[in-house]
Symmetry: D2
Subunit: 302 residues, 4 copies
Amino acid sequence: MSTVAFIGLGIMGAPMAGHLLAAGHDVIGYNRSPAKVETHVARGGRAASSAADAVRAADVVITMVPDSPDVEDLALGEDGIYANAKPGTLHIDCSTIRPDVARRIAEAGAERGVRVVDAPVSGGEAGAIEGTLSIMVGGADDDVAAARPYLEAMGSTVVHVGPPGAGQTVKAANQLIVAGNIQLLAEALVFLEAHGVDTEAATRVLGGGLAGSAVLDRKAAGMRARTFAPGFRIDLHHKDLGIVTAAAREAGVAIPLGAHVAQLVGSLRAQGYGGLDHSALLLQVLQLSGRAEDEEPGRTES
Amino acid sequence: MSTVAFIGLGIMGAPMAGHLLAAGHDVIGYNRSPAKVETHVARGGRAASSAADAVRAADVVITMVPDSPDVEDLALGEDGIYANAKPGTLHIDCSTIRPDVARRIAEAGAERGVRVVDAPVSGGEAGAIEGTLSIMVGGADDDVAAARPYLEAMGSTVVHVGPPGAGQTVKAANQLIVAGNIQLLAEALVFLEAHGVDTEAATRVLGGGLAGSAVLDRKAAGMRARTFAPGFRIDLHHKDLGIVTAAAREAGVAIPLGAHVAQLVGSLRAQGYGGLDHSALLLQVLQLSGRAEDEEPGRTES
Amino acid sequence: MSTVAFIGLGIMGAPMAGHLLAAGHDVIGYNRSPAKVETHVARGGRAASSAADAVRAADVVITMVPDSPDVEDLALGEDGIYANAKPGTLHIDCSTIRPDVARRIAEAGAERGVRVVDAPVSGGEAGAIEGTLSIMVGGADDDVAAARPYLEAMGSTVVHVGPPGAGQTVKAANQLIVAGNIQLLAEALVFLEAHGVDTEAATRVLGGGLAGSAVLDRKAAGMRARTFAPGFRIDLHHKDLGIVTAAAREAGVAIPLGAHVAQLVGSLRAQGYGGLDHSALLLQVLQLSGRAEDEEPGRTES
Amino acid sequence: MSTVAFIGLGIMGAPMAGHLLAAGHDVIGYNRSPAKVETHVARGGRAASSAADAVRAADVVITMVPDSPDVEDLALGEDGIYANAKPGTLHIDCSTIRPDVARRIAEAGAERGVRVVDAPVSGGEAGAIEGTLSIMVGGADDDVAAARPYLEAMGSTVVHVGPPGAGQTVKAANQLIVAGNIQLLAEALVFLEAHGVDTEAATRVLGGGLAGSAVLDRKAAGMRARTFAPGFRIDLHHKDLGIVTAAAREAGVAIPLGAHVAQLVGSLRAQGYGGLDHSALLLQVLQLSGRAEDEEPGRTES
């Protein structure tokens, strides 16, 4: 069993660290808000008072934090991982960040003798709790092989998709597809409601054919019921679509529908719905169709 | 067992009529090109020399023809179904047509004592051959109940979604979602290729999470291999998206992504690719990304 | 001087008929609401009790009505123009309708010995009052030459753009450009406001360069001041964009931005703003940017 | 008369520097390629061997370079302007760059006693040669007043639009409107051609109404004739639309049409047309409409 530093014990990170504990690892947790660390200790983990502190004794460092600058600070900062890790330490970054930042981190790690793997996850809070995350992994063959046992403790689908950064690229593609599929389902549902169709029956038959999707299976019922508790927040999806559009622009790739839905997600957020689940794209379709009148979805602070 | 008139023995209609024969019905087939009728007879069916001829003796009439005007002519024409059917005949229209035309047909049928059900199908040629079509049914409760045994002989998912026209409305929503999901997958694949990612592995991991869909399961491999034999032709999807955008406009429903993908499908068709499978939307994303140079997809007459 | 039947004495038609009176013509007016006819008589015109009545004595018939079905009824109806006009009558249709309907009308006229010209106008109520309309004319050379004196009495730019229907096609293109230019200006203004820029100064400098346009000259001040009294109503522009998108689809022409702005105009209308000027597209950009909170634009019945 | 350092003697910079010479100023020119400096000397200017060299003796420094990093290097680099300028020097940046970079530069200048004004221009090569540029100026009142005489030597419309960065923000809005107006005109022209309309006549009548614009006045003839020599290159407009979309995202402003046209410009560039004038958006509309077959526009290196 290994000593694992786990940095970032939020909604996703906490249950992921729990699976590593359950697998018998010695998991040293660190989080900016100490309450999260206490919970981790209550589950059998150890506490660290700083990222540097967590890293020093670890064989493996796993990070699960919100955005590119967070990972950059953690990896490259003076009190960060690469300045304090033992030579040969394996850094698995499960955050969703920009592919170019992932590549830069990996290069910086190599210079310091740290092996770096990008391993963003898909599946949400439920997948994290159940250990059924899909994990898209970028890195050198050896490093990914070394990371695999830890990843398989947290997810049910672990796929090596390419060199460093490739995991983030696939995650970006994932977020493009998911946002678009949700928006299309939202348009379809409002279209059906407006025509007086039974959307429960319609969803059943749509799900049986070529229109079927995980989005339809998991989100349609909530959209029909107008329940938009996250789940995955519009704020985060907005951040991720910024990554997709920038990476597509950099590569000269046309993403007409992707860029379009990025605007729609940005609008929903600008209107104050950033804290709702991404399936709340339905609210905006209702609004744009003049059908939101009697619906009061409860704005949240974003 | 019943006497069924089956009008329209094309790629979809022929195997559908075959399932009714297999279920023991007396199926009188009619098609404009006589060769299709001969094949039907060779399978144990009977031949009719005209639609009127087929209809006169039938308890049930099933139509499976390309577009709204075809159904209108068949149903309402001088030599058509309603002018020749026995009182109480059940007309099941499996074509994909405009919801407002479906409603108009149903009203005209009612005036002539013909019970009309709209029952468009999803699942393509494979679904028709295997008898696993998804069928979305609009009509009065009694009429749908009367139609169900025939529909269940041809499909594995038969759902009553609302009053006359509702089946077509759900089919329109289906086509909106499918076109959009294909376009999003195309954008994601080109994005991944441009970044040098292993798309086979990527597709596997995408399919395991919230980005998973029937489109990804059934179309991604062909798109990666650049094989676009239909399947479901761009020409037909273009027709169907015309129905969706018109019906959304009529209802005052915003379908921003739907209208956008309708333009993209129209462009692909205008460029001469109308005869390819709808997954050929990938070709256009390659073109718009300056990556189509070395790919020669073989235009087809549309 | 000629005897002119003028059918449709609304906001646009009344001042247009006035210019013909001022030019010395004998103008027989007809309108469904008699009050409009009385005003016409008070200005020196003559009254007709029906369209047929107006037409019988006329050398020239001018129609200025809302939509394609109105023109079809007037031209082709039992009590309509072609059933009652003298052989050789010249029919000038100034309405904005579908190009294919304009062509059909022209053919029907030819069969009855009526010469038909489509001559939709641009310039709004102000242009109608001032006699400075731009008029785009479709028809045979001789017929357009015959129509020119009447058109020049009502407009300052009269251009023959092609065969029957061509005037309507150019008007459709006009409406595509205008809607798009307004939406782009709306996006630019909200962008500038959000960044704290002086939009009065900005509008001045934008107007001096390649971003300058009639839309900017005539609409920016009202948009900055949030005054959206029509002018040209969203309801009508929505109708016209339906014509554009249908005609583009028919011709296989890609209008990605045109189809996009058609959705945005449709959304504004669906939200109850159909009675406002088309420059009210600004309101929707504010809404989508989360900046509409304190602005209460007063919905109107559409 | 003042001593002016002019850095960046390209297609735009050279004639702009010429106007300052004509106004009697002592203009010290610097450009990376020495040939441009020689031409400047031949016109009566003086030569500098480096940016630092040019700046040391100057009262005013004007920069006219391609992109944000170029200005950042020039302003903030070790051998750059702020490290070498006399206290109180006025830096006028006429480049088109990101508003946030312009603000950062202005702050850095203030710390070094350099007064900074952002003054991007519109009007193209012709405007630069004729001295009729539109110039949108951001900066403190005093600094803009000090810059005005120099700007008025180069442009005919000089408008102070707000604090530092505001000039760039207005330029970004300008580029949004221009790209969109060109795309809309392209769609309209292809639509008209497809319907067999005389586009010369159509352009005349469109220009007289609410669809009239500087884009239509200056670009329609070239688009009809398929001549796309720059002018303003797609490559540069692509860069500028990157600025617009990033700045809109930062401010939470919805620019649906702007983001859409940014994709279309990016696609044209990805297809190898980056060196053509931005009016070449027409080529892509032709392509998407299946009408590009017989047109061979001569790709350029981008």
